[in-house]
Symmetry: D2
Amino acid sequence: MDISKIQNQLKKFAIERDWEQFHNPKNLSMALSVEASELVEIFQWLKPEESNSPNQKQIQEINSEVADIAMYLLRFCSILEIDIEEAIKNKLEKNAEKYPVNLSKGNSQKYNQRED
Amino acid sequence: MDISKIQNQLKKFAIERDWEQFHNPKNLSMALSVEASELVEIFQWLKPEESNSPNQKQIQEINSEVADIAMYLLRFCSILEIDIEEAIKNKLEKNAEKYPVNLSKGNSQKYNQRED
Amino acid sequence: MDISKIQNQLKKFAIERDWEQFHNPKNLSMALSVEASELVEIFQWLKPEESNSPNQKQIQEINSEVADIAMYLLRFCSILEIDIEEAIKNKLEKNAEKYPVNLSKGNSQKYNQRED
Amino acid sequence: MDISKIQNQLKKFAIERDWEQFHNPKNLSMALSVEASELVEIFQWLKPEESNSPNQKQIQEINSEVADIAMYLLRFCSILEIDIEEAIKNKLEKNAEKYPVNLSKGNSQKYNQRED
């Protein structure tokens, strides 16, 4: 995926509509969390196993929400000049340290709540 | 960004820890929204203009949360076999229709709340 | 529950700490949603049936998050002079219209998504 | 506010519609956070000072969301037999300890992030 290309498209979209005035990190974090909740809403009354098999209408909604989340995330990173690929790489390394296989096997507890 | 490569790393990480049992779309949507809120928390008491200049500690936290959001989003898409790049492309086209420049200039209202 | 009394306590708490400058509706809505997500985090990897029987530590966390949510909600209503009891009464009436028993029986769909 | 009375109304509403099957703590925490985000959505592009003066339409939406949040919170507490008034009382006491006036004056930092 060409992150920079999408970020440039999002920037152009905002500039053309004079929306840059709204796109500060505070507001974008709000918009991102609102979209994340719209994804949650699709699943809130479903059983976990039902959530594995969304129907056609739900799949469309899910695709739409996933795109909204991704776009606000990329726009947010663009505004604060965050290299998302680098951020993911660093976090993957940290998670490997925090969640060693022997302590985490079948255990969903957060690393700082684990009873070792 | 090589989406598939990261998704494979995340899958391997989950399999090694026997975490696949927790990773259904319902649970992953919850985890994603929790991480989005952790990003919101950083900005909740800041003025919008202050949010443009986070300090060093905040930048580290922001990078960490951004990575968490991205990783849960990619894991979610992996589980439901959603092509995130295609989803973004489709949404960008729809947004261009919903928010024509002449109706949206300097106007942050949602397309269905706009008073034309 | 004496809503006004609690709202007065929260107001006094904010004034003493010079926190009124942070307590506008925008910021308080953010804080409220952050606390709601902290409640979600407790349940994110649990099966629905497991969530019915939280352990002692989880019960403490749940009580703490529930209080945070309630307090931000009351503070928010205080700032905007919203009568929460009246708001609930009105919503209960509207919900009874939107979700008539015969159309809603065993059906969790939102009223505007129902296939009648 | 007569909490028990409202909780009984909500319980009756759920039983009549056979919705008790959906109302476990996990699902209710999701619904609560979704409603909290719908409140956030109203304010996401507004300046903090603008959020102090919502227009008539926004006031109606705000009342509606506040009611939804309160009702899911009360339903959640009902299911887990949490005494919300007691929870608030305990939290107010803890907050007074965590945020002493001299350390917190004009300082919005979380107690565990404060640089004393």
